[in-house]
Assembly symmetry: C2
Homo-oligomer: 306 residues x 2
């Protein structure tokens, strides 16, 4: 079982309108709703790949009920909270294709709810092959939260992927996670270096065992104890990048539990990410596109001397 | 008991954002949610005035559950449907005070759901002192719906207030409702006349027993079998007109079941409407403001010769 953690889960609502004009009244032509937050996105892709997945984090209120009702084929171990899970509204202008976003604030997590989560997490980690800690922290959760969750996983001998940014990332890196998956911007924020190769090495010195940095359409760059690689998609892709990073995380975790060597893990991550960009629905991917792409990802680099 | 009907109920969601900019991402600073649709607004004001109220219409899905959970102190006789109750999102720009609206489409009502509603309505009308039919029709409900509901109420000897527009209004007027409460625009749409006094008389000739037309900040004009009146608020009011028309409907119904003479009904309607405009929260009213205003509404006109 792979465990994904989404402390700041959401219901992602997409509205299509013919043209968005401030101060006007709009008839929404189509509404879609989907559980969101990075950990739930990773879980959806892992489940589609056939992995057994358990999701945890927080959910509450009427929106929390909708999130739980619409989870993909995963085990629901979300912790109930007294506040209401946030909605994010993406308003797509059908004329221009542009998106305007309205993000509700998340519920404030109480100290008792945070304690209940930590207890549930410790129990879940004991049965997990790998853990993914993803996304921002909701109000009320201490900034060192991910550092503690990384330590719990490491104490249980379970590999942990961390995908967050800012101070929560900085603190959790010092707790020695097995893998971090920052964007180039997040990595620069952490290390002060805008040169990805240098920055990945610096992030490893700060405590991350392996670093896979996303370079957007140019693919991934990886610095690991086993070697350094760069993985590039077969062509420049046009499409919707929403969720592409979460698909890459899912590819890395999937390759980890399948015990693939790094070059194949990276190819899986890049192909899933590309198949997500190419999908018409944000955050979805087409399995046949993925399978067609995975053999065409270029991976260059070298393994370390044993 | 007063029965209010809301065939196209909604959950009205209000977001406050510092400044709305198309294609940007916004952090919503405050979220409020309230059952909406004209009939539910009327019911809220009637309940606040101390009347016993039953609400019916349709509700469904997760949003329908939230609407039902948050009803004011009224009896819930909403009919469950398989579709999902619509949300309306009002995005208030805190810099300018302007509002941008996004209205979801309502659920499509099936023929079986429409039949179930008509049966429930017939039973409820038998126990009602008055009925209010309010708002637009959802897809699936025939355009002659209100005409049928007016006839059912008249057959039961229960007075019926109708507040809708367009073809559903035109058809229902021919079924001889006791009272219609159009805006000046809706009245012009019905009669072709932009002169409110002439238009109210014309609407009576088309079948409405009494017509109370709203002139916005200038108050109400009434044409009834008992006489003709004009009711004007004590001063030009600045504030949020959302829900002011529904508060006027509630005042007219409240005065009807309390058997007040027309001038006092109109004063109640204008004072409730004004207290709603002056309230900081859309669609709410301050009871003390209402009580202070009700004695200061100017009503001019004359009763018909007996």
């Amino acid at each position: 079982m792979i465990l994904t953690v989404t402390l700041n889960s959401a219901l992602d609502v997409t509205y299509r309108v013919p043209a968005l004009r401030p101060h006007a009244t709009h008839r929404v032509t189509a509404v879609t709703e989907r559980p969101g937050g990075k950990g739930l996105n990773v879980a959806r892709v892992l489940a589609a790949l056939g992995h057994e997945v358990t999701v945890t984090g927080f959910a509450g209120g009427a929106t929390g009920r909708v999130v739980r009702d619409r989870l993909p084929d995963v085990t629901d171990a979300l912790v109930q909270v007294s506040g209401t899970t946030r909605r994010t509204i993406a308003v797509v202008d059908e004329r221009t294709g542009d998106t305007t976003r309205l993000n509700e604030p998340g519920p404030v997590i109480t100290p008792a709810e945070w304690s209940a989560f930590q207890e549930a997490y410790t129990d879940l980690v004991a049965g997990a092959q790998a853990v993914a800690l993803c996304g921002s922290l909701p109000p009320g959760v201490p900034v060192g939260a991910y550092a503690g969750l990384v330590r719990t996983a490491r104490a249980a001998g379970v590999p942990v992927l961390l995908d967050t940014r800012g101070e929560p990332l900085r603190r959790a890196v010092a707790a020695r996670p097995d893998l971090i998956k920052p964007s180039a911007d997040e990595l620069a924020e952490l290390t002060g270096s805008h040169e990805p190769l240098r920055a990945t090495l610096d992030a490893r010195r700060r405590g991350a065992r392996a670093v896979v940095a996303s370079l957007g359409p140019e693919g991934l760059v990886a610095a690991t104890p086993e070697g350094r690689w760069r993985a590039t998609p077969p062509a420049r892709l046009r499409g919707n990048p929403a969720g592409a990073g979460d698909s890459a995380s899912a590819g890395l975790l999937s390759g980890l539990v399948d015990r693939l060597p790094w070059p194949q893990r990276l190819a899986r991550a890049v192909a899933l990410s590309a198949a997500t960009v190419l999908s018409p629905a944000a955050g979805e991917f087409d399995r046949s596109v993925y399978e067609e792409l995975v053999g065409r990802v270029a991976v260059t680099g070298e393994a370390s001397a044993a």
